[in-house]
Amino acid sequence: MSISLLLLVVAVIGAVGYFIGSWRANALAGGKLSSLHSRPGYYGSFVALWAILPAVVVVFVWVIASPIYVNSTIRAGFPEEVKAEPQATQNLNYNMISAIARGFKVLTAEEREALFKDGAAARDVLASKGVPVAAEPAPYMLKSADDLNRMTNTSSTLLSILAIVVATAGAFLSYRSIAPKFRARNRVEGMMLVGLIAASSIAILTTVGIVASMFTEAVHFFNMVPAWEFFFGTVWDPRFAAAGATASAGQFGLIPLLAGTLYIGFVAMLVAVPVGLFAAIYMSEYASRHVRSVAKPLLEVLAGIPTIVYGFFALVTVGPFLRDISAQLNGLVTGNYSNFIQAQSVLTAGFVMGIMLIPYVSSLSDDIITAVPRALRDGSLGLGATRSETIKRVILPAALPGIVGALLMTASRAVGETMIVVLAAGVAARMQLNPFEPMTTVTVKIVNQLTGDLEFTSPQTLVAFALGITLFFITLCLNIYALYIVRKYREQYE
């Protein structure tokens, strides 16, 4: 029985359990529902949950454990001379066996018998059925493949029986426990809680997993390149070595990339913060409900545009525009019509990224400004303050910590942005202060190092993980600090 069919059967058992559970509760109540502790639906849900959950857990565990068991049993059956070979070769052999096993499934019983008698034709026969096998299989492989198939079948049958038994037993036992005083409602509530906790722990565990995987790769990198050369190096020049060569290590200085990241982020914030903040003030304090209902979604459309589209905008519109206008300006002043702003520059990337960030700033700040109690506004207006005085002297100071938090969150987005930078500021890792020249960021270099033919043992590739974990650490700090500030702000009004 396939896994999906099995799960369907379990679900059906659960549904049946629900109905008999509520029916039983109704019968016990004998028309007087108030004599039950919980409403009948809760007894039904209780039975259904007990039928489904343990069975699903069994299926889940089995699906993970059984291939491991099968794998080790098959390997144990390898001939001694194969066992003596290195692990990598054994892995290849096992892969071949599973390919053959897959092939066996499409063969008829007679064809299989024929293969066992004459192993030499195996490769061609399987290939003719659309199952490619890497090499001519050794005789023991055919037998192992047959074993593999048999074991998988047995495992699947066992699982089906076990899951159905567990589901039925769960339903039966929980059905037995139904009594008028039984607190089904509280039990169901408890199981809901477990489900919710499971959902949130998945999110957290995933984060931990991502960090751990990046971290292990980064450690490999730091084994090859000293940490201080990475963190304090001022030259980024990771020469790609020819395959097999070990000598050319290149230089992996983080500083130019970090400088570019912070510089472009700074320019972006310079654009996004005033515009976004003023937009938020207008939306929350001045706009009539009608204007707000139209303008706010329009502004938030900006947030829905993929960043690569902003990149196009920078590449074909903003960049050339800035370049041309700089040439004109230069010509007017000095008579020499050469541009001093490059088409790809910190300014272009920062400007376009700033536009991208406007909706984040405005939407977050809008929420925070709106959260300032109306009583404070009334108090100030009632004293004869104008709207802008009220905003300047009461609302913004009250909302300031929250706004700072929002800005920090926005900054962490700016630091993590890639596509706009690739298209608008280029990929040249340079350290300089002129905003009219190209620079690049950490994220762009991560993409750079991980595109193309990769060799996951060379520092050129592994440096991406070191960069990634550095970036993660920066944005994590920004976010934690932002959350801390926002939380402190919330306490003020509660």
């Binding site: 506004r377 009334d378 108090g379 207006l381 004869g384 303050a385 002297r393 009250a398 003020q492």
Partner: protein, 271 residues
């Protein structure tokens, strides 16, 4: 700014000749929140240096009327006011009038104490600073001290003027809000259920304060407590379903009201 019609001026003068001076005169005041009408042609005059209490069951329009007196309703989307309200001789809904100046003349204390998240000193200095009432630091100190004294809070906070205003107790916060309103030297102070969030002791203090403030200010107070209306006010106006039912001397109102509905409400038969 003097846009009052001659008839209204005459009327105001008439009243003055009868030895009663009206600080504010409301004539045919109606308020609409969008489609919904909240006040029906209310004619209510507020006497100078008098405490006028507005009573009535919830939703009767008393707070709405109070808020028309300094145009706080303007801050609510879709709110529309018709009729005429004058302060002395100025029509406060005249398009030429400066609503900011109006609110400086007609101050307001709200239901829930709403000190700004600033120091006690800054809370009181807020209004004078906006209106430029103090020329120097010592002027400002004097205004703050005087206002806090008028609000009966000076002795309790004089040693911690620079601590946060939100750290005070509820009753102290409300008196701080009164001091804040007083600091602008308004002519009229509107109070919207100023004691509903306070305990009985703090309430007693605020009531005592209202009594003292009457000497310098004209006060209009909305209250749910009949006893409070009887204790602090000289005139009482009863609202019901957006209509002004009756307006009378407080003594008469609570002993021998003209209108049956007032009688019923005061006796607790509805509301």
């Amino acid at each position: 700014m003097n846009m009052m019609s001659e008839a209204a001026v005459e009327k105001a003068l008439d009243k003055k000749m009868n030895d009663i001076s009206y600080k504010m005169i409301g004539k045919d005041v109606s308020v609409y929140y969008g489609e919904k009408r909240a006040l029906y042609d209310v004619n209510l005059n507020v006497r100078e240096n008098t405490v006028t209490a507005l009573i009535g069951p919830s939703g009767c329009g008393k707070s709405t009327f109070l808020r028309t007196l300094n145009r706080m309703n303007d801050t609510i989307d879709g709110c529309r006011v018709t009729g005429r309200i004058t302060l002395d001789t100025d029509d406060i809904y005249d398009p030429n009038i400066d609503v900011v100046e109006l609110r400086a003349r007609v101050g307001m204390v709200f239901q829930k104490p709403n000190p700004f998240p600033k120091s006690i000193y800054e809370n009181v200095a807020y209004g004078p600073r906006i209106h430029g009432l103090a020329k120097s630091k010592s002027d400002m100190d004097a205004i703050v001290e005087k206002s806090l004294q008028k609000a009966g809070l000076w002795n309790e906070v004089k040693d911690r003027l620079h601590e946060g205003g939100t750290g005070l107790s509820g009753g102290q916060q409300q008196r701080l809000c009164i001091a804040r309103a007083v600091a602008v030297s308004p002519e009229v102070i509107l109070m919207d259920e100023p004691c509903s969030a306070l305990d009985p002791i703090a309430t007693a203090k605020v009531e005592e304060l209202i009594h003292e403030l009457r000497a310098n200010f004209t006060i209009v107070i909305v209250t749910h407590s009949m006893q409070q209306a009887a204790r602090v006010s000289q005139r009482t106006a009863m609202f019901h379903l957006g209509n002004l039912v009756e307006e009378n001397d407080t003594d008469k109102m609570f002993t021998n009201p003209d209108d049956q509905r007032t009688q019923d409400y005061i006796m607790g038969r509805f509301g």
